[in-house]
Amino acid sequence: MTTRLDPNLAVILLAAPILWFAPAGFKAYGLYVVSLWLVMSIAAMGLNLTLGYAGLKSLAQAGFIGIGAYTTAILTKTFGVSWPLAFLASGALSFAVGVVLGFPALRVKFHYLAFVTLAFAMFVFLVARNEEWLTGGVYGFSNIPRPVIFGLDLSRALPFYRFVLVVTVVLSLAMWWLLRSPWGRAFLALRENWMRAASLGVDIRTYTLMAFAIGSAWGGFAGALYAPLVEFIDPAPFAISASFVMLLTVVVGGSGFFLGPFVGAFLSFVLPELLRVTGGWYLVVYASVVLVLLVICPTGILGLVERARDRLSQRRAAALRDAARPMLEGSEAR
């Protein structure tokens, strides 16, 4: 058997150096936008695991970004903990909360599960807004420090962007590994036919909880980057509407496609910035683009790519059939 480089892995390895150098000339605002794109891609990657691969409808991803962002903000600012530790703590806390939130998923499916997770997202938002002693309430947290790692000062926009890129690549590679392992296949089995999966020895309980917990941890990791990126957090970006945007991001990019979150996050977080030139019309244009996209390709943008590939192979098969037709006619003649 020949070993072929997996196309998803190839894209990550190819894109990483390009993204390292390309935005070098950007101004601070441009760097902020591409950094935000990567951070939100991480969160969407987590939701893509839960929703796209394991088929568990979750509407709480922004809640986990919030948990990660506040954890990092509190730990680094109030307690002076170093960022790498705060990053790990953000992921670990989101993982643990994800396990707990995963339990309803063992009992309820589909939109009921969506309701449960929606209630959780609301809960996170309310805690962030009302528990002032912990979160600063509506005034939020300001002057969240940017990390210094191995003596490298990341307070300026370009070094911080590159740092976000490195973390994104590492988390992408980890997710790629997870999904290509037998675990990834078990997650797909949950989505496609959990009853049959159980009869083949797949431990439904553990894999369901893990799909939730790992997806949530990625949300927490994204939050740990989000807090020092914006340097100021308040409850608003983690409201329920933000969880809907995360869902939209995953679906528009291509739910269950490895690179879908990057495409989706580009549409949800970069496109609105590009459309600012249209003035007050940008939401209208953005909404129309999303609507049209979902009408032509309910499986998302990467779903469209796959459909085109299927069609191409069908056309090739049709061409082969056409080429074989004279043979058929010859045999009938005889």
């Binding site: 037998p182 797909l188 496609e192 036919n193 159980a198 009869s199 083949l200 797949v202 431990d203």
Partner: protein, 247 residues
């Protein structure tokens, strides 16, 4: 002779309905046992109770002499009990080969070793052999959802054998399969039974299929065992003729 499976006093009531009402039977090592009976006689309920899909009202299931009553389907499977379903149950967006790897992977190592080990859990070769055995080579890389009904039935059966089970329960394997495909399926099942000494229990409506495949047959009616014996004995039993075969 070792009894791979033994079912004792199995009962399953749904409210006042006695779907399974005290069934006893056993399956010997290497045997192909058929369970037949008219529609609604409790065959599928019996299967689901044995396989942990339903909790029995009363009764016991022994696997190689050890009690396994009430275990989850996934736990039973890891102990070596495999099954096929009456209705098609494959993973439609996975390729035929991926379906087979999935069917075997949970029997390899632990979750942790699988997470850090090879993507195919070292099962590509085994999957390819199974594909060749069921003569599905030309379909190996196609999505299972695109296969014909009969081909999916073959894949479903192949998946049940991927982990080298001690016991396979087949729920109406012949249902909706055309004659050519049926002959292929029967021939493959017999080959696995002969070559690997695998033990089967088959629920089936198709009398010719059961009578020619099975060495022993249990006949059920109204939740109870009406008769059991070789196909010839069962055919000659007046009670069976009365209840099921007719005239």
């Amino acid at each position: 002779m070792t009894r791979v499976l033994e079912v004792k006093g199995m009962k399953k009531y749904f409210g006042g309905i006695r779907a399974v009402d005290g069934v006893d039977f056993h399956v010997n090592q290497g045997e192909i046992l058929g369970i037949i009976g008219p529609n609604g006689c409790g065959k599928s309920t019996l299967f689901n109770c044995i396989l942990g899909q339903l909790t029995p009202t009363d009764g016991e299931v022994l696997l190689e002499g050890r009690p396994v009553t009430g275990l989850y389907p996934s736990q039973l499977n890891r102990l070596g009990v495999s099954r096929t379903f009456q209705l098609l149950q494959v993973f439609p967006t996975l390729s035929v080969r991926e379906n087979l790897i999935l069917a075997g992977q949970e029997h390899r190592g632990t979750k942790l070793t699988r997470l850090f080990g090879r993507g195919d859990a070292g099962l590509t070769d085994a999957a390819n052999r199974m594909i060749a055995f069921f003569k599905l080579e030309h379909l190996a890389d196609q999505k299972a959802g695109g296969l014909s009904y009969g081909q999916q039935k073959l894949l479903d059966a192949a998946m049940a054998f991927m982990a080298g089970p001690k016991l396979v329960l087949l729920d109406e394997p012949a249902g909706g399969v055309n004659l050519t495909m049926l002959a292929a399926l029967k021939e493959r099942l017999e080959a696995i039974n002969r070559e690997q000494g695998a033990t089967f229990v088959v629920i089936e409506h198709n009398m010719d299929f059961v009578m020619s495949l099975c060495s022993r047959v249990v006949v059920m009616a109204e939740g109870r065992v009406l008769a059991q014996g070789t196909p010839a004995e069962v055919r000659a039993d007046p009670a069976v003729v009365e209840a099921y075969l007719g005239h």
